[in-house]
Subunit: 203 residues, 2 copies
DNA sequence: CACAATCATGAGCAATTGCTCGGCTTGTTC
DNA sequence: GAACAAGCCGAGCAATTGCTCATGATTGTG
């Protein structure tokens, strides 16, 4: 149904510069508010207030609260180039892993709190789940291919290894970057690369 | 202040068997409801309904919603004995790591969804944060001691390694167990132990 | 069996939330 | 500069939520 498909889509296309600017202000305000208060406590009124616009204007561009989160998530997933880094199977294993780790770190560096909210507190709508599942599937597929084809890789259980490597990078980067000052991102990258590369080489 | 200290504590001590039973029903119902709907959407009325009691009865035992979550978290942390396993520094490294990994897996096996809610969506109250911080500090201290003293350990950056190992176990176990059927817990344990042990031995 | 302590009930209050709608302001077009 | 469109406003509605409190039912005790 058309109504169903448009549940998360923008209400109207901006035609003036002013409007595009307002859209952007809503998005950045939402990102901050969600990061600070979480999804449930990040009220639409607060987002509007933070964006310096009225609540009415907000609903001119987003049909509901979920739609704002959906656009935030979409943009984030689109900006993530980590899956591509896994395709260069002719390079040394360490370089590939490093590129992968670095891509994930970079991608989460803007606002790790927001990212955790996106993945943990996002409403369980079919659309959002499918979007995230597809993204994860791409990473898993590429990683699995890499493990199967790269000459340096010798782990036995490729299936478990794929899951382990993927979630190790994904889930250790979040909390470690989230605690500021505690952990140096460069050190983290170094140790992660060492750990994963060594692991994948073991017979 | 007494009022402040009692914010999360049970409203009254049960004196009859019936009451203790009601308390238990509330807790298990809350665990399920929170796991299903998340913290914010896990309403107290829903919890009461699921427990098969009235909303009034619920508030006889818990002064507010946070208190229920607090007790759930406390029980979970108290059941977690993973920190102790890190103390046996005279045993082979692999055995120690395996015991640690297994303890975490066991502890999260009941309901991994709930655990993520506890750690991610818990209200940012000072009490709860302090409780979790203390638990994490204990693990980090023990792990750091192990890395410093165990003869098999040769990683350079002990600080980063401590954080990396701790959060690798903590955060990869959650999502991997949460996807039922996808990953075999025994395989996960095997690969995790291999990866971490090999990593810690590298010069 | 009386009578008090304990336990259970659930209608409904106060506060909060997502969101609408009618009217206003700013920009565009001819 | 008139007439229309695009964008903006914010009071307030409907729904939901955490939680209270006056009342009634159960249980233990002498």
């Amino acid at each position: 149904m058309a109504a169903e498909q448009r549940r998360l889509q923008p209400r109207k296309q901006p035609r003036q510069v002013r409007a595009e600017l307002t859209r952007q202000r809503i998005l950045t305000a939402a990102a901050r508010v969600f990061a600070e208060h979480g999804y449930a406590a990040g009220t639409t009124n607060r987002i509007a207030e933070r964006a310096g616009i009225s609540i009415g204007s907000l609903y001119q561009y987003y049909p509901n609260k979920d739609a704002i989160l959906a656009e935030l998530l979409t943009r984030h997933l689109e900006a993530d180039r980590s899956a591509e880094t896994l395709r260069h199977q002719e390079e040394p294993l360490e370089d590939i892993i490093r590129a992968f780790v670095r891509a994930v770190i970079d991608n989460h560096h803007d606002d790790p709190r927001l990212l955790r909210i996106l993945s943990d507190q996002a409403p369980r709508s079919t659309e959002l789940l499918e979007l995230m599942a597809q993204h994860q599937r791409e990473i898993h597929t590429n990683l699995h291919d890499l493990l199967n084809n790269h000459p340096e890789v010798h782990v036995q259980d490729k299936h478990t290894a794929t899951h382990l490597v993927a979630s190790t990078v994904e889930y250790t980067v979040h909390p470690l970057i989230a605690t500021p000052g505690e952990i140096n991102p460069t050190h983290l990258e170094e140790e992660l690369v060492t750990m994963l590369t060594t692991y994948l080489r073991t017979r």
